[in-house]
C-alpha cells in the first residue's frame, strides 16, 4: 500500500503533462488531490505501524543477472520522513496556488519530485534507492530553472551538478561494495550483513558519507544550497530545503552508516587532533552550524538568511548522526522532521507571503513597508516559525536540538559547547531578520498608502496552519515520532553502530 505513494505521484505527474493547455485550475486541484492521497496513505501506514519492524511493502525480481530486486520496505525512520514528505507536498502545493505561468508543468515536475522522494525513503534495495535518488535531480533542475527568481539558471545548474557529483561518489561506493561482497545482492540487509574488511570500510565510508552529505549540506560542500534555494520558487525551496536535503542525511544514516560502520572506528593515529572519520564529520557539522549561523547574520537578502539557516540546521542533523548514541541519533531524525516542517514554513513566508507581494527581498527595503500592519498574518507566522527555528520550547525544534545536544555532550563535550554557541547565534539572526523585515521602525514616504498589498489568501493560511500545528504537535508530544524512531534504531540494521568500539 505504501508503494502507492510513489505510483500515485508519478501517475499524477503523467496526467498533469497530458492535461490540455490552459487548464490551470484543474491542474491545481489535481495536484492537491494527488498529494493529499499520498499523505493519506502515508498517515494510515504510520498509524498502523507496529514498532520496530521493517515492513516490506513490495519485493519483486528486477534484474536477476545482477541480483537486483525491486524491494520496497519501511521502518520507523522511513515512515517519519515519508510523513514529512506528504505534509510538505500538500503545503507546497497550497503555497503555489498563485502560479499562472506553465502551471501544469510546474505541478507535473513537482509531483515527479515527490514521487521520487517517496521512492528513496521506501527503497530497501540500494540500486533502487540510487535510481530514485538520481531521478530527483532532473525535476529539481527544471523547477528552479523555469520558475525560479534570482540567478535561477546558475542556481539550478549548480544544484544539479553538486547533487550529481555527490551521487557519483555514492555510486562508486555502492559498486565497490557490491563487487567486494560478491553476494549477488544489492539489498540493504544483504550488504549490511556482509563483513567488509575494516580497511575497505575505512575507505568506503567517507566516500559514501560525503557523497550523501553533499546533498545534506555538509560544510564545506554546502555552497549550492543557499544559491539554489534562493533561486528556487517557493514550493521548490520548501521541498528542497525541507525534504530533499533530508534525503542526503537519510542516505548517510541508512546507507553509509549501516553498511560501513567500521569506517567510524578510531584510526591508529591522530591527525590534527582528530582520531576518526567520526571526529572529522562531527567537527565539520559543528563548523557548518556556526558558519551557517554567522553568515545568516550578515545577509541583506531575506531569503538568503533562511537559506543559510538551513545549512546551519542541517549541521545539527549531521552532528546528531555522528554522536552514535541513541539519543543523538533519534534527535537527528526528529530534527530531520522538525527542520523539514520549519524550513517549509520559513520559505513559505519569505517567498510566497512576502516576496510574491513586495517583489523585493532586501531587508532594508522591506522594513519601511510596515509589513506587520499590511500583512499581519505573515508577521505572526514568521514570528512563530522564527521562534520555533531558534529552538523555543513548545515547538519541535527545541526537542530535537535538546536531544542532539545531550547526545553530543556524551560523545564530544567540547563540541557540545560550540553547538550551544551556535544556538545563541541562531537566536540573534532570526531576531535580526524578523525585526528588520516586519517590525522595523523606519517608515518611508515612498510607499503610497493607497497601495495595499494583496491579502493573505486562504490556501496560504491553510498551509501555514498545517505546518505550525505539526511543529507544535511534535514539540508538545514528541513521543508521537519517538515511538517509531527509537525501535527502528534498535533494529538489526543498526547493530553495527550499536556494537561499535565507541560505546
Amino acid at each position: 500500500m505504501l508503494a502507492w505513494t510513489i505510483y500515485i505521484s508519478f501517475l499524477g505527474a503523467a496526467a498533469m503533462f497530458l492535461l490540455p493547455k490552459g487548464s490551470t485550475a484543474v491542474a491545481r486541484i489535481l495536484a492537491l488531490l494527488t498529494a493529499a492521497a499520498g499523505f493519506a496513505i502515508a498517515l494510515s501506514a504510520f498509524v498502523h505501524h507496529r514498532t520496530g519492524e521493517m515492513l516490506t511493502v513490495t519485493d519483486a525480481t528486477w534484474i536477476p543477472s545482477l541480483g537486483i530486486r525491486y524491494h520496497l520496505a519501511a521502518d520507523g525512520i522511513s515512515l517519519s520522513l515519508i510523513l514529512l514528505t506528504g505534509i510538505i507536498a500538500i503545503t507546497g502545493i497550497l503555497f503555489s496556488w498563485n502560479i499562472e505561468d506553465r502551471t501544469k508543468e510546474f505541478f507535473a515536475f513537482y509531483l515527479l519530485l515527490i514521487g521520487a522522494v517517496y521512492g528513496v525513503f521506501l527503497s530497501y534495495d540500494l540500486f533502487l534507492l540510487f535510481v530514485f535518488y538520481e531521478i530527483v535531480i532532473i525535476p529539481k533542475y527544471f523547477l528552479i530553472a523555469i520558475w525560479g527568481s534570482t540567478r535561477r539558471e546558475y542556481g539550478a545548474m549548480k544544484l544539479a551538478i553538486y547533487s550529481f557529483v555527490g551521487s557519483a561518489m555514492v555510486l562508486v561506493g555502492l559498486i565497490a561494495a557490491y563487487v567486494v561482497a560478491g553476494s549477488h545482492t544489492m539489498s540493504l540487509g544483504g550488504l549490511a550483513g556482509y563483513p567488509f574488511s575494516p580497511h575497505f570500510q575505512m575507505l568506503a565510508f567517507p566516500l559514501v558519507f560525503v557523497g550523501f552529505a553533499i546533498l545534506a549540506g555538509l560544510w564545506p560542500f554546502h555552497t549550492w544550497a543557499p544559491t539554489g534555494h534562493v533561486a528556487a520558487p517557493t514550493a521548490a525551496s520548501m521541498l528542497l530545503a525541507g525534504v530533499v536535503m533530508k534525503l542526503g542525511a537519510y542516505g548517510c544514516l541508512r546507507v553509509a552508516m549501516t553498511l560501513f560502520p567500521l569506517g567510524l572506528a578510531p584510526w591508529s593515529h591522530h591527525i590534527l587532533g582528530l582520531g576518526s572519520w567520526r571526529d572529522v564529520f562531527a567537527l565539520l557539522a559543528v563548523v557548518g552550524i556556526i558558519y551557517g549561523a554567522l553568515v545568516a547574520l550578515v545577509q541583506k537578502d531575506f531569503k538568503f538568511v533562511i537559506g543559510y539557516s538551513s545549512v546551519s540546521h542541517m549541521g545539527f542533523i549531521l552532528l546528531g548522526l555522528m554522536t552514535l548514541n541513541q539519543i543523538g541519533l533519534s534527535g537527528a531524525v526528529v530534527q530531520m522532521f522538525s527542520h523539514g516542517i520549519l524550513a517549509g514554513l520559513l520559505f513559505a513566508v519569505v517567498g510566497r507571503m512576502v516576496y510574491a507581494r513586495t517583489h523585493t527581498r532586501e531587508l532594508s527595503a522591506l522594513g519601511p513597508m510596515g509589513l506587520n500592519h499590511t500583512i499581519p498574518f505573515a508577521a505572526v507566522t514568521f514570528v512563530i516559525a522564527g521562534m520555533a527555528s531558534m529552538g523555543l520550547p513548545g515547538f519541535s525544534g527545541f526537542v530535537a536540538e535538546l536531544m542532539i545536544v545531550i547526545g553530543a555532550w556524551h560523545a564530544f563535550p567540547a563540541l557540545a559547547l560550540c553547538v550551544g554557541f551556535g544556538i545563541l547565534i541562531g537566536v540573534v539572526y532570526v531576531w535580526r531578520a524578523m525585526q528588520k523585515a516586519f517590525f522595523s521602525e523606519s517608515r518611508s514616504a515612498a510607499l503610497p498608502p493607497g497601495h495595499p498589498l494583496p491579502p493573505i489568501t486562504i490556501p496560504e493560511k491553510l498551509g501555514a496552519i498545517i505546518l505550525i500545528a505539526t511543529s507544535v504537535l511534535i514539540g508538545i508530544y514528541p513521543q508521537v515520532l519517538l515511538n517509531i524512531i527509537v525501535p527502528a534504531l534498535n533494529g538489526p540494521l543498526f547493530s553495527g553502530i550499536r556494537t561499535g568500539s565507541w560505546q
Binding site: 535510481v131 535531480i137 539558471e153 545548474m157 551538478i161 550529481f164
Partner: protein, 493 residues
C-alpha cells in the same frame, strides 16, 4: 564444392537478402520512380529496404544452432545472430529517418549504400578471420565515406567525407599492416591459431598497437577521433545517424572479439599498482584519453551535432572500459551499452534533422523553446540526452552501471577502481553540457519571430518509439539483458 557453396549461401543468407534488397531498391527507384517527388521515392525505397531487413531478421531468427565454415571465416552462433538482428533494427530506423530527407535526389543510390554497408557490418560480426574482418570493414567504411558525402550542396559534407576517408584509409593501412604481421607470426588468419602466439613478441606488440589504432579509429576513440566531429557535423542526418549507431555497434563488437579472443594471452593488466604490459593498458589509456577529451571539449560546443560527436567520443571511452574488462559479463555490458546508445543516437538525429530543416542549422540557439513548439520531439530529445547523461531509470544509466560492475568484477577491484572513478567523474562533468541542451529546449523562451515547427508525423513516431525503448530498456533492463546473456552463454565464447 557445391556443398561448400551451398553452405556459404545458407550461412550468408541474411546478408544475401540485404544485398538483393539493395539491388531491388536501386532498380525500382531508377526504373520507375525517376519522375516522382523525392519524398515518395524515399518512402518507397525506405519501405522496400525495411521489408528486406525484416526478411533478413526473420531469416536470422528462424535459424538456430551454430555453424562455422572455412576455419572460422564465416560463423553463425546465437551471439552473432543477436548482433546482426540489432544491426538490422538500427538500419531500419535509419531508413525511416531518411524518409523526410531533402538533401539528395539520388535516393536509390543512398539506400543501396546503406544496405550494402549493413551487409558489410553483418559480415563483420559474423567472422573470426582477419581477412574477412578487413574486407567487411572496408565495405562498411567505403560505403560510409560516400554516405557522408551525399549532400552535394554542402561544403561541410564534402569536407567531412574527405576527412573520414583520409583518416579511414590511414587506419585501414595500419590495420592491414598489423594483420599481416599476425599472419606472419602464426601462419594463419584465423583467431584460433593466432591466439597461440607467444605473448609479447615484439612483432606482436606492434600488431596489437596497429590493431588498436585501426579499430580505435572506427569507434572514434581518442586519439584517433579527429574525424568524428566533422563527420557528425557535415554528413546528412541519416548518414550521421547510421555512422553513429550501427557502425559503432559492429565495430565495438569486433574490437572486443579481436582483443579478447585473439590476443588472449597478451592482456596485461591495468590495475594500478600492478601495471602489467599488454593490450589491456593500451586500451585503458585510449579509454582514459577518450573520456577526458570527449567530455572536456564537449563543454565548449555550441552546436548539437558536434556536441553529440564529442559525447560519442566520451561514450566510446566508457565502452572501451568493457574491453578492458574482457570477461563474458563485460561483453554483455558492452553489447547492452552500445545497442541502447545507438537507439538513443538515432533518435537524437531524428530530432536534429527536423530542427535543421525548419530552423536552418543545429546550433543550440535554434532549439530554444522547442519544448513548447514540438512537445513530442522535445520529450524524445530529453529522454535521449538524459540517457546519455546516465540518469536513471533510463538505459544509459543501467548501461554504465552494469559496465562498471563488470569491470570491477573482472579483476581485483582495488587496482582497477581508478578507471571507474574517472569514468563516473567524467559522467558528472557531462551532466553540465547535457543539461545545457535541455535548458534550451525547456527553459528558454521561444525566440521572438521564430517560425512554427511542424513536426512530421513519421519523425514523431520514430522518436517516440525510440524514446520508449530507451525508457523500457532502462527501467526493465532484463528484457534486453537476458537475450544478450543467453546468446553469450550459448555461444560459449
Amino acid at each position: 564444392m557445391n556443398s561448400i557453396y551451398s553452405q556459404l549461401l545458407h550461412l550468408a543468407m541474411p546478408q544475401v537478402i540485404v544485398v538483393a534488397t539493395a539491388l531491388l531498391v536501386m532498380a525500382v527507384d531508377l526504373l520507375f520512380l525517376k519522375q516522382s517527388a523525392t519524398r515518395t521515392r524515399f518512402a518507397v525505397a525506405a519501405t522496400l529496404a525495411s521489408l528486406g531487413c525484416l526478411a533478413a531478421i526473420a531469416r536470422i531468427v528462424t535459424t538456430c544452432g551454430s555453424a562455422s565454415i572455412f576455419n572460422g571465416m564465416l560463423i553463425a552462433n546465437p551471439l552473432t545472430h543477436l548482433v546482426q538482428v540489432a544491426l538490422l533494427v538500427l538500419t531500419i530506423f535509419t531508413l525511416l529517418l531518411s524518409v523526410n530527407s531533402t538533401f539528395t535526389e539520388h535516393v536509390g543510390e543512398f539506400v543501396l549504400l546503406l544496405l550494402v554497408a549493413t551487409a558489410g557490418m553483418m559480415f563483420l560480426v559474423g567472422t573470426q578471420d582477419l581477412l574477412v574482418i578487413f574486407i567487411s570493414l572496408e565495405l562498411l567504411s567505403l560505403s560510409a565515406y560516400i554516405l557522408a558525402a551525399f549532400n552535394k550542396r554542402s561544403l561541410q559534407s564534402w569536407e567531412a567525407a574527405l576527412k573520414y576517408f583520409l583518416f579511414g584509409g590511414m587506419s585501414a593501412a595500419f590495420l592491414l599492416f598489423g594483420f599481416s604481421l599476425l599472419y606472419g607470426l602464426s601462419n594463419s588468419t584465423g583467431f584460433a591459431h593466432i591466439a597461440s602466439v607467444p605473448a609479447l613478441n615484439p612483432l606482436l606488440v606492434i600488431a596489437i598497437v596497429t590493431t588498436a589504432i585501426g579499430l580505435g579509429f572506427k569507434v572514434a576513440a581518442a586519439p584517433f577521433h579527429f574525424w568524428a566531429p566533422d563527420v557528425y557535423q557535415g554528413a546528412p542526418a541519416p548518414s550521421a545517424a547510421f555512422i553513429a549507431s550501427g557502425s559503432k555497434v559492429a565495430s565495438f563488437f569486433i574490437f572486443f572479439q579481436l582483443m579478447a579472443l585473439r590476443f588472449a594471452g597478451a592482456e596485461g593488466s591495468a590495475a594500478l599498482p600492478h601495471f602489467v604490459r599488454g593490450w589491456v593498458p593500451v586500451v585503458a589509456l585510449m579509454a582514459v584519453a577518450s573520456m577526458l577529451l570527449g567530455n572536456l571539449v564537449a563543454l565548449r560546443q555550441t552546436g548539437l551535432r558536434r556536441l553529440l560527436a564529442y559525447s560519442a567520443i566520451a561514450h566510446a571511452g566508457y565502452m572501451l572500459l568493457a574491453i578492458v574488462g574482457h570477461t563474458q559479463q563485460s561483453l554483455a555490458a558492452l553489447l547492452y551499452y552500445v545497442i541502447t546508445y545507438a537507439l538513443g543516437t538515432i533518435g537524437a538525429f531524428a530530432v536534429i534533422s527536423v530542427v535543421e530543416d525548419q530552423r536552418g542549422s543545429d546550433q543550440l540557439s535554434n532549439f530554444d523553446g522547442l519544448g513548447k513548439q514540438a512537445p513530442a520531439l522535445s520529450f524524445g530529445l530529453a529522454i535521449f540526452i538524459l540517457s546519455l547523461a546516465g540518469i536513471p531509470p533510463l538505459a544509459g544509466f543501467f548501461a554504465k552501471f552494469f559496465l562498471f560492475v563488470t569491470l570491477l568484477q573482472s579483476s581485483a577491484p582495488a587496482g582497477i577502481v581508478w578507471l571507474v572513478v574517472l569514468a563516473i567523474a567524467m559522467s558528472a562533468v557531462s551532466l553540465y553540457y547535457y543539461l545545457r541542451v535541455l535548458k534550451r529546449v525547456y527553459v528558454a523562451p521561444v525566440p521572438a519571430g521564430a517560425a512554427e515547427i511542424k513536426s512530421p508525423l513519421l519523425s514523431q513516431a520514430i522518436v517516440l518509439i525510440l524514446a520508449g525503448s530507451v525508457i523500457l530498456f532502462g527501467a526493465a533492463p532484463h528484457l534486453l539483458l537476458r537475450w544478450i546473456e543467453a546468446a553469450i552463454t550459448a555461444s560459449g565464447s
